[in-house]
């Protein structure tokens, strides 16, 4: 079996679980208590470990928290990235897939960071807007770029991004596109624009994402607004439109990743979704399509961050350098099918017959024309974010 063998995407079942878990676990304290990720081991775990760098303050192992199913797994005869990294570097790595929902993960790490304590994690993979928040709070360390020479492989479109304008604190893990996913049989026609989601013929069979920046970003683009500098007043028509659609029953649900289940079950004809997910779902259900709306799609990124006081910054740098090595990045990209942030991945995928088709997938490798239609949602000030969150919650929660 090829090491690039397909497997479920990173958001595939994580939010399904997250929504369930969040229902049962209302408080951050409980979330903390129930967490079985890397945080579980506490400080004392495995101090004697083999950090070959030697420069990290404490021995032990590198601890990473990320989204589930967001890396190539080990298979018989085909070791995954975690295994290969350990073999290549001798660094012990505890890779936890315990970031189920960015906001809940924040609620979980907030008590320790706000109290000036350190986390067990040396690296966390979180969505870019959360990176802005953590950077502004001073809760993350600058990355030791002098030890990450492969960072030069970062693709141009993700350099000096709005969430980290000087590119000091973050390196992208993967990025992707928020756009329209639909079942051609259910809609009976191709969908092209955000307006199509508001077609009365689709009433009650459309969902939007709970990820506010994706949903609001797409609606604002459809209204001709600039999402790179989102303003409260610009957003009002989109909020109003969304609220009306919710009230009228046009929008059936606001979802995390669980829109996938509804798409496959036929409960949804169309929805706002993520590119990598839909690419993989289409293998199961060939009637599913993903389209970047005419008015533009939202480009999002998940990034690696080093929490304040991380104990193994050098080992973390080794990891980042390793995953920014194009051959390694290609294996990860082939497994998760999102946009790899590493230059050279496409060429490597194109060479292997097993993955050549991926190399021509515009959702994984958007060309210049496609990139012009993709927009990053800009930062919101603290005060703005509070009222955006509140208004969006009032709409999505009824």
């Amino acid at each position: 079996m090829t090491p690039f063998a397909h497997h479920e995407g990173r958001r595939t079942f994580l939010r399904r679980l997250a929504w369930g878990a969040s229902g049962a676990l209302l408080t951050p304290a409980l979330l903390q208590a129930c967490g079985r990720g890397p945080g579980g081991g506490g400080e004392g775990a495995d101090r004697e470990g083999g950090d070959k760098e030697g420069a990290d303050k404490e021995g032990g192992e590198l601890v990473i928290s990320s989204f589930p199913l967001y890396i190539d797994p080990s298979r018989p005869g085909a070791p995954g990235s975690v295994e290969r990294f350990q073999r290549d570097t001798g660094i012990r790595l505890r890779y936890g897939e315990d970031v189920n929902d960015v906001r809940q993960f924040f609620a979980r790490i907030r008590p320790a960071l706000a109290a000036g304590q350190t986390l067990p994690q040396d690296l966390v993979v979180l969505t870019a807007w959360m990176a802005t928040r953590l950077i502004e709070l001073g809760w993350v360390e600058p990355l030791p770029f002098e030890r990450i020479p492969n960072a030069r492989n970062l693709i141009a479109s993700l350099r000096k991004p709005s969430w980290d304008p000087e590119q000091r604190f973050s390196l992208p893990w993967q990025s992707g596109i928020a756009g329209i996913a639909y079942n051609i049989k259910a809609t009976g026609r191709e969908l092209r624009s955000i307006d199509d989601l508001f077609d009365p013929a689709l009433k009650g069979r459309v969902s939007a994402l709970l990820e506010m920046r994706d949903t609001m970003g797409l609606l604002m683009l459809a209204d001709g607004k600039d999402v790179s500098r989102p303003s409260w007043s610009d957003a009002q028509p989109s909020f109003d439109r969304l609220e009306r659609a919710r009230r009228d029953g046009q929008i059936r649900r606001f979802t995390g990743n669980d829109y996938q289940t509804d798409l496959l079950a036929g409960n949804l004809a169309a929805c706002i979704g993520w590119s990598g997910d839909v690419a993989q779902l289409a293998l199961e259900q060939p009637d599913l399509r993903f389209v970047v709306p005419e008015s533009g799609g939202i480009l999002w990124a998940d990034v690696m961050l080093m929490p304040r006081g991380a104990r193994h910054p050098n080992a973390a740098a080794r990891w980042m350098n390793w995953v920014y090595d194009p051959p390694q990045a290609a294996r990860i990209a082939a497994a998760v099918q999102y946009i790899s942030p590493v230059e050279g991945v496409r060429e490597i995928l194109a060479k292997d017959p097993a993955t050549a088709a991926l190399a021509s997938n515009p959702l994984m490798f958007p060309g210049p024309a496609e990139q012009r239609r993709l927009h990053l949602f800009g930062p919101l000030s603290e005060a703005d974010e509070a009222r955006w969150d509140e208004r969006f919650a009032r709409i999505s929660q009824g």
Partner: protein, 328 residues
């Protein structure tokens, strides 16, 4: 000397389950009153309560009380943990204004689910009690069986059953019931999933055992002789129910309603999985306030409002039916 015939002087048979006796003795026993709660017996049995009381005090009451100052505070910063006490009653005003309709919706859903549960539970309990025979324990087990599955799993299972192409809607379609149910407001645009109906159905399934079990226990105390007597007096099925079963099973009903209304009003899972954005309940709002909006004081205020409303409902219920509760 009495002139009445001997038969007329016979006292009416008093059974332990007669309503009068139940009310007089708190429905507990026929013990002489000198052994009742007012007696000055040994105090040590109270010590047996100590662990439970301590548990409640430390893990329930104190955290709950800590919500009171929090609910009157303001966060110092958006992402920090510190809050500063400002006696900010406006928190309550704001959450009531913003979430009042959702509070009402939550109690309406909980009441509807409980009502539906009662309608389903009575025949079930009656069958188990009076027709169950030696299968009674098994039938009781079957009622409890779904509760052994996680409520989360049950909610997810419902999403398959209620799906647009799912078995339930297909059945309704083949029976030609879509239009009538749509007219009754049970279906919305021909669908069940992500509607109020689905949330109420989900809640009802969850609370059914809590209604059935106390009802069965209460009905255990109904002497079948009473039903036979009613039958002898030509009471029809309806009359037997309204005159015998209903009044004598009311203690169980009171307990069942308490046990189901409270968790139903605070449910978070069913609305999330089975409801749409127009069917979310108050616990979803609290969850969102705390974890997404990071408004701990307002989340605390809303929690306390919810608990106060539930407490009022419980107190009213207790006042009406304390002596009817089927205590052992």
């Amino acid at each position: 000397m009495s002139v009445l015939p001997a038969s007329a002087r016979v006292e009416p048979p008093v059974t332990p389950t007669s309503p009068q006796r139940d009310r007089r003795h708190g429905g507990r026993s026929q013990r002489p009153s000198s052994h009742g709660p007012r007696s000055h017996g040994p105090r040590w049995p109270w010590l047996l309560l100590a662990p439970g009381l301590l548990w409640l005090l430390v893990l329930y009451l104190l955290p709950l009380l800590s919500l009171v100052p929090l609910s009157l505070s303001e966060p110092v910063s958006r992402f920090g943990l510190e809050t500063v006490f400002r006696g900010r009653l406006a928190n309550y005003q704001e959450v009531l204004q913003a979430y009042g309709p959702i509070l009402l919706r939550s109690f309406a859903y909980a009441a509807l689910a409980t009502g539906l549960g009662v309608v389903l539970a009575y025949p079930l309990a009656w069958t188990i009690r009076f027709r169950g025979g030696r299968w009674q324990p098994l039938l009781m087990g079957l009622v409890v069986l779904p509760s052994l599955t996680s409520f989360l799993v049950r909610a997810i299972a419902w999403t398959s059953l209620l799906a647009d192409q799912g078995p339930l809607l297909q059945l309704l379609r083949s029976l030609g019931l879509i239009a009538p149910l749509e007219a009754l407001g049970v279906l919305h645009d021909g669908r069940l999933l992500n509607t109020a109906t689905a949330v109420i159905l989900g809640l009802t399934t969850n609370l059914l055992p809590f209604l059935v079990l106390p009802l069965v226990v209460a009905m255990q105390r109904i002497d079948p002789v009473l039903l036979e007597a009613a039958d002898d007096l030509h009471a029809g099925a309806l009359r037997r129910f309204t005159q015998v079963v209903w009044p004598l099973s009311r203690p169980g009903l009171a307990a069942g309603i308490l046990l189901s209304l409270i968790p139903a009003a605070g449910d978070v899972v069913n609305p999330r999985f089975l409801g749409g954005p127009n069917n979310q309940m108050i616990a979803n709002s609290i969850d969102n306030l705390l974890l997404v909006q990071l408004q701990a004081p307002r989340a605390a205020a809303l929690t306390l409002v919810l608990m106060a409303l539930i407490s009022v409902a419980v107190l009213l219920q207790l006042r009406r039916g304390l002596e009817e509760l089927p205590l052992p």
